[in-house]
């Protein structure tokens, strides 16, 4: 409580309070008994995007269309070192 008697919550130290009163109605009801423990949709979308990006990078590397990938760098560096030696 501050000097005016208002309740001060430090959300960094009270995650459950933040989740209850923050960006979403996360925990429903006063008793907190009806909690949804399923994996949120944003987590599933996030994982799908990450997996898609990893697959894209792997496919681009395997097909050689990787905008000058790391194998090319090594080859290029060898060529440059010979050029300058």
């Amino acid at each position: 409580l501050n000097k005016d008697g208002a309740l001060i919550i430090d959300v960094d130290l009270q995650p459950s309070y933040y989740l209850m009163h923050g960006t979403d109605q996360y925990i429903q009801g006063e008793t907190g008994m009806s909690q949804n423990r399923a994996t949120p949709r944003w987590v599933k979308i996030f994982l799908a995007v990450i997996i898609a990006l990893i697959l894209l990078v792997v496919i681009l590397h395997l097909t050689g269309n990787d905008f000058g990938g790391h194998m090319k760098h090594l080859g290029l560096e060898l060529g440059i070192s010979r050029l300058w030696s």
Binding site: R37, V43, F67, H73, L76
Partner: protein, 178 residues
């Protein structure tokens, strides 16, 4: 272990400084990479890639490791924890991936910088690598913006481990000193 409020504020300030500094350095890198790709002036191209080498070595590489240290300390030192909430796990994963990708690109950046220092103009065979610098830094910027958004919005979602720890805490008798 819960940190004292003073220590927590200090760690939070350091974490924000490192993360925002990293984001700013990546924006500078992206601008330099775009200018280096499109400029027709040989001296501009040379100075751009020399600058990119310096920015990478002295700013981006150190700053990419710093949040990996301050982030876990901060989360483990507060009730948020490191593995209890999906948004914290997502941030950790993105930071690790960004740091690894950053390390993989240090070699080509150094190659571009050293070649630019020796030659009056870059060989045509470097064009793909110049394009890769633009794409990699643009992707890094997107990742860092997503990380910042995660930290601010703290989207809902507790991991099974988080629920387990919360159930454990609720089962314990309440103490005013905790």
């Amino acid at each position: 272990m819960v940190m004292t409020p003073g220590l927590r504020k200090l760690m939070l300030a350091l974490h924000i400084i490192f993360a925002v500094g990293w984001l700013g350095a990546v924006v500078c890198f992206l601008v330099l990479a775009i200018v280096g790709l499109n400029s027709q002036d040989a001296r501009t191209v040379q100075s751009v890639y020399l600058s990119m080498g310096i920015v990478t070595r002295f700013i981006i590489v150190p700053l990419s490791f710093a949040p990996l240290i301050t982030g876990p300390i901060l989360s483990l030192g507060t009730p948020w924890g490191l593995f209890r909430h999906y948004w914290i796990l997502a941030k950790l994963l993105l930071t690790i991936v960004s740091t690894v990708i950053m390390q993989l690109h240090v070699q080509p950046i150094n190659l571009l910088a050293s070649t630019a220092a020796k030659a009056t103009s870059l060989p045509a065979s470097f064009h793909d690598m110049q394009v890769q610098m633009v794409i990699a830094s643009a992707l890094a910027l997107v990742v860092l913006v997503v990380e910042t958004a995660l930290a601010v919005y703290k989207p809902r979602g507790m991991t099974p481990y988080g629920w387990h720890k919360q159930d454990e805490q609720r089962a314990q008798p309440y103490s005013i000193n905790e």
